[in-house]
Amino acid sequence: MENVPVHQWSLLEAARRVREKEISSRELTKALLARIEVLNPKINAYITVLPERAMAQAAACDEELARGAPRGPLHGVPVGLKDIFCIRGVRTTCGSRILHNFDPPYDAAVTTKVLAAGAVLLGKQNMDEFAMGSSTETSHFGVTRNPWDLSRIPGGSSGGTAAAVSAAMCFAGVGTDTGGSIRQPASLCGVVGVKPTYGRVSRYGMVAFASSLDQGGPITRTVADSARMLSVIAGYDRRDSTSVDLPVPDYLAAVDKPVKGLRVGLPREYFEGDGLDPAVRAAVEKALKALTDQGATPVEVSLPHTSFALSAYYLIAPAEASSNLARYDGVRYGYRSEGASGLIEMMSKTRAEGFGAEVKRRIMIGTYALSAGYYEAFYGKAQKVRTLIRGDFAKAFGKADVLLTPTAPTPAFRIGEKTDDPLTMYLSDIFTIPCNLAGIPGLSVPCGLSASGLPIGAQLLSDHFREETLFTAAGAIERAVPVPRVAPLTG
């Protein structure tokens, strides 16, 4: 263990060593900042790095520890946040030109929680513009590269966070997931990502994309680290009216529980069809074997409306986005187009110049789907199909405690490979989207590498507020299927 470089430690290991004064928070933070300085020009995982602020925080942590007053379980440990979470006084861009100069007047709930736990904030991580994308290619601040192969995308929209975790440029990150934006990049970068139950983590201060689907969650290198992070960021918040007032369990205790007797459902629809890469199928089968070898019972289940989820999602999410993004009008904050002659022209030009192509496309789809004459045919229909998809899961969870599926149909694709055809890009989220529509929790855990050495993830899904079951199953897979967690390319 002594030979493992500092940056490769798990979050739990780093926290323990700081707590036991084997290393100071300043040394730890300095090591990570040095690594970011070397790697960020190649990977572009961070939009904003906060060296002075992080070192000042680290010094304060060391001083508090010397006084015997650690703040919490992340005391002195450097982490990163997707650039969608507001940090008071730190530019928050959401990957967009329209927020390129936005200086939030308050902290997001997630920010407050990680700070209260003692974490040091290294910076804001890159993402698809307004979290709309599956590859981090739509960011105004340039594409993030996959640390396993720099010619490939890291997934998206939380691609900067997944890449930073995988390249050991932070000990943990927090991303957001509207249709797979935590799980898909975690899978493609070979790390662990959790989308909690809708309502588990407060959305206060998290820039809104599709409010009925958005949920923040951890991205880490180990299952136990994700469990720790989720315990920190979960919990009721009166400032988010959809936040759920339920006690937060000890997720860490769930990781080492036995899986004997656990019913693992295999949804037939996720394994048929020719879009699934054979290497992904083989890796997920290995994950299943790991579970059954430890005493879990496989059961076949059916989610018959799976093939309709993508259509429902690409109506509901853009509809909510078109409404949420109406606030970016050049009046109160953000970018404003100069030289327009009237108010409406100023707003229309601000939005034309401030938003990128994918965001415009989704605003247009959403506005169309909500417009007079089309509302029932598109948005109303999609909301009904959402009910059918929720019903599929409710039935499946009568027969199974947890579902096992691939996270993404293929390993990471090449930069530019899917940018010309929106529908092809959207199809890379086909296995992650139904979970958001149903509001259930989902987790991606590494379960293998492709022949060319690209990471593959298995997705676990459970019923509402059963995150503990995900951690138990993921822990069992992690123990039996060891996959390197720090991308070898970066050492």
């Binding site: 008071r88 936005f102 200086d103 007047p105 308050y106 809708y198 309502g199 009925s212 689907l213 009166r238 009216s241 959809t242 759920v244 409306h305 309709f308 259509s311 690409y314 109506l315 078109s322 109406a326 009008d329 050049g330 009046v331 109160r332 904050y333 970018y335 404003r336 009237g342 108010l343 409406i344 022209e345 100023m346 707003m347 030009k349 939005r351 034309a352 938003f355 192509a357 415009k360 496309r361 247009m364 789809i365 506005t367 169309y368 417009s371 598109f378 229909k381 999609a382 009904k384 199909v385 959402r386 009910t387 059918l388 929720r390 929106p422 529908l423 958001n436 149903a438 509001g439 509402h464």
Partner: protein, 96 residues
């Protein structure tokens, strides 16, 4: 599903989004293709299905309607692209 150029321009006006000619044409084609794909939803009979407005069963949350002053007016106003004192300044709304 064919979308006309007029429909694209109408929706762009609703969305307060100016489009170049090239953008309007590209969006006309892409929106048509996407909506074609989404038409698959019509294969499902949803006459008796209640639409989902909330994925997780919970009651409507109520709270007292109490004002919580934010406190830092300057932090809010300093983000304004244009301001005059404590006001946001915008281009002229009413024509002469």
């Amino acid at each position: 599903m064919a979308i006309t150029r007029e429909e694209v321009l109408h929706v762009s006006r609703l969305a307060r989004l100016s489009l170049s000619d090239a953008e309007a044409e590209r969006l006309r084609e892409q929106l048509g293709n996407l909506l074609d794909y989404m038409k698959q939803l019509d294969r499902l009979d949803t006459r008796d299905v209640v639409p989902t407005s909330h994925a997780v069963e919970m009651g409507t949350p109520f709270r007292e309607d109490v004002v919580h002053p934010f406190g830092d007016r300057e932090a809010l106003l300093k983000n304004a692209p244009d301001r005059e004192g404590d006001f946001f300044r915008v281009p002229r709304i009413i024509e002469d």
